[in-house]
């Protein structure tokens, strides 16, 4: 087996992990009927919170925690404005991204040029040394494993638990959920905060592990890709996981292909994941019953008890 395969596959894991976090979080948010377009803003604030705390304290644990809190704090702002002050979700989400980019630049001013040693790898004796499979399955940092666990937990939570049922209920018909006595906005706020924390973790992964440094705008559009992945996955967590790895895979494989002199236009390959998203969008919206099954019916609609 050529030497470059294992590093290439490892790079795919790194490239996909931040997308997995952000997309999983957004799925829960959208399942509860809230459309938060501010993923990019929450990610970048998570990235600077994590990096700032990491560099200042030297603790990876605190850094990761700070990243999640940073993302959740941004999400709280969004939730407060859209759920309680009934501001428009699309406009507020976009504003959250713009605000997040500017705010993180302000916070990060003193951290430009600093470096963080990166997250420790969880090596398992013997298992990590198995050729090919060892390095692929073992020896990653904690966030990579956490992303996989998060996918499993969110899938289970949404489909098998009472909590999941509640979330889906407020997302499908908030009046019905309200009329049987559930607090729509409290449930939505919890989902929004979860989504923010996950986006924050995605951002933390960028600034702590992927490229352990801080530069303004370092998320470079990954929040938008995560948003596209949610639709691509038709609001199913495991599909989002698959989509993130497909996206990461295509990106990395095209970089390797260029190195080997395979002549495919890089612009074409860069476009592929977006094309796939559009195709999926067309497919699910071409059949109205399928669309109903997938997209939460109350997505993007504000709730007020007066109706």
């Amino acid at each position: 087996m050529p030497e470059w395969i294992v590093p290439a596959l490892l790079t795919i894991i790194t490239a996909s992990t931040p997308l997995v976090f952000a997309a999983i979080g957004e799925i829960v948010v959208e399942k509860s009927g809230v459309l938060n377009l501010g993923i990019e803003g929450m990610m970048i604030v998570g990235a600077i919170f994590a990096f700032g705390v990491g560099v200042t304290t030297g603790s990876a644990t605190l850094a990761i925690l700070a990243g999640a809190i940073g993302g959740a704090a941004m999400a709280f702002l969004f939730g407060f404005l859209t759920l309680y002050l009934l501001s428009n979700q699309v406009a507020t989400g976009l504003a959250l991204t713009i605000f997040g980019l500017g705010f993180s630049a302000l916070l990060g001013h003193g951290f430009v040029g600093k470096t963080f040693p990166g997250l420790p790898r969880l090596e398992i004796p013997f298992l990590s040394d198995i050729p090919f499979i060892g390095p692929l399955l073992f020896g990653h940092d904690i966030l990579v494993y956490a992303s996989v666990v998060a996918v499993a937990l969110v899938t289970y939570m949404l489909t098998k638990t009472r909590t999941g049922l509640l979330i889906r209920a407020v997302g499908e018909n908030h009046f019905a959920a309200h009329s049987i006595g559930y607090s729509v906005n409290k449930i939505r706020m919890a989902c929004v905060l979860f989504g923010g924390a996950m986006a924050g973790l995605g951002g933390s992964y960028l600034s702590l592990a992927y490229t352990p440094l801080w530069v303004e705008n370092m998320t470079a559009g990954r929040g938008w890709i995560a948003l596209a992945l949610v639709v691509f996955a038709s609001w199913k967590a495991w599909r989002a996981f698959f989509g993130a790895y497909l996206f990461g895979g295509i990106t990395i494989i095209q970089l390797h292909a260029q190195g080997f002199g395979v002549e495919i236009a890089p612009q074409f390959l860069a476009m592929l994941p977006y094309l796939a998203t559009i195709v999926v969008l067309v497919l699910i919206s071409s059949d109205s019953s399928r669309a109903r099954l997938n997209a939460p019916a109350c997505l993007g609609r504000s709730f007020h008890a007066s109706g």
Binding site: T14, T211, L213, L255, G259, P266
Partner: protein, 360 residues
């Protein structure tokens, strides 16, 4: 170096800050204004222009007052910002991104007594000068070092967009590396962005996995250099000294240095000798500089690099000295001649020996 500015500018327009304009200058002070496309904290392009502004402030002290506006998007906003600077009594205004070209000329027409300096453009007028830097001179020197330092004989190059400036850099690097190491090859990966630390790092990882032991970049973030450090291979910094991101990996860095030019032009305005001109400066003008060499580079290689630098400085060495063949084997620069500035400015071909083709 064009579209990154559009991109960054658009994204960061919300964070636009008008800085350092507090307090009216005394009548005697000459006001010098700067318009940046990115934030001064980008650790690259705008950062270096701001270093130039500070140099003016330090050199002329009480004689001048400098002002800057950062993260100005190219287009209508730029015209407004430039007009505001011109109207508020600035006598010399530097507009430091390619996309400010037309707004600068438009505003300059309305303010004939204000002098304008536009970076990287090609349109001039009575009160608009243009200036840019011959970064390929730096690429020549790092190409020589790379050719000598590589063990695997593979140079990895993280490239942004296939525009003449980037292609010129690749060719200059390769020609120099080949001249000292006939076995050397160059692997180029286009990332289709000026700035995406993650993707730039991925490209560097791909190149390293495929055997490159020297990473060069024509993108803006320090991520490729950081990957080189992590994987214990060499790298060359871009735009500013990036040594803090890869103290062991950075062989040197090609630095944009506008200080001398900015000081000289400010002085010309103070003396009343300012004239519209077009400057494309390299080592000689001080616009292109190299960061201190890595201590691990052997003395003979340092000597080779210094000799080349001196030669370029004196005009005895030209990075594009003939004979140069294109990939088809056709001679494009005959022996005994150097490539003309016109050819360099529009360079759209790889030289012989580079594998693959330029993305269309």
């Amino acid at each position: 170096m064009i579209s990154k500015r559009v991109f960054l500018g658009a994204l960061l327009s919300a964070a636009m800050v008008v800085g350092a304009s507090a307090g009216q200058a005394a009548e005697k002070k000459t006001k010098v204004g700067f318009v940046y496309v990115g934030p001064i904290g980008d650790h690259g392009w705008s950062y270096q222009h701001n270093v130039g502004r500070i140099a003016i402030a330090n050199t002329f002290g009480d004689q001048v007052k400098t002002t800057y506006v950062e993260s100005v998007p190219e287009g209508a906003d730029a015209a407004r910002v430039i007009t505001k600077l011109a109207r508020s009594g600035h006598k010399l205004i530097f507009t430091t991104s390619f996309g400010y070209m037309n707004p600068t000329l438009k505003v300059a027409k309305r303010f004939p007594n204000v002098k304008f300096e536009h970076a990287t453009g090609f349109k001039r007028s009575k009160n608009v000068s243009t200036y840019s830097a011959r970064f390929y001179e730096g690429r020549h020197v790092v190409g020589l070092i790379a050719g000598k330092m590589t063990k695997s004989n593979i140079i990895g190059y993280v490239a942004s967009f296939p525009i003449p400036e980037v292609i010129r850099g690749i060719n200059a690097t390769f020609l120099a590396a080949r001249s000292v190491n006939p076995k050397v090859k160059i692997k180029i990966v286009w990332v289709s962005t000026w700035f995406d630390p993650g993707k730039e790092a991925d490209a560097a990882k791909a190149l390293i996995a495929q055997g490159a032991d020297i990473i060069m970049q024509h993108t803006d973030s320090p991520a490729p250099l950081q990957q080189a450090q992590k994987n214990k291979v060499w790298a060359v910094g871009q735009a500013s000294d990036m040594v803090s991101f890869g103290p062991k990996a950075q062989l040197t860095a090609i630095i944009d240095n506008w200080n001398a030019y900015y000081i000289q032009r400010t002085k010309a305005v103070l003396d009343g000798t300012w004239k519209s001109q077009d400057v494309w400066g390299g080592f000689k003008s001080g616009m292109v500089q190299l960061a201190p060499y890595n201590k691990a580079i052997p003395a003979d290689v340092v000597a080779l690099a210094e000799k080349a630098k001196e030669g370029i400085f004196n005009g005895t060495v030209h990075p594009f000295a003939g004979p140069i063949k294109n990939q088809a084997g056709k001679i494009v620069v005959p022996a005994g001649q150097n490539a003309s500035d016109k050819m360099l400015a529009g360079m759209n071909f790889y030289v012989e020996g580079i594998d693959g083709s330029i993305p269309k």
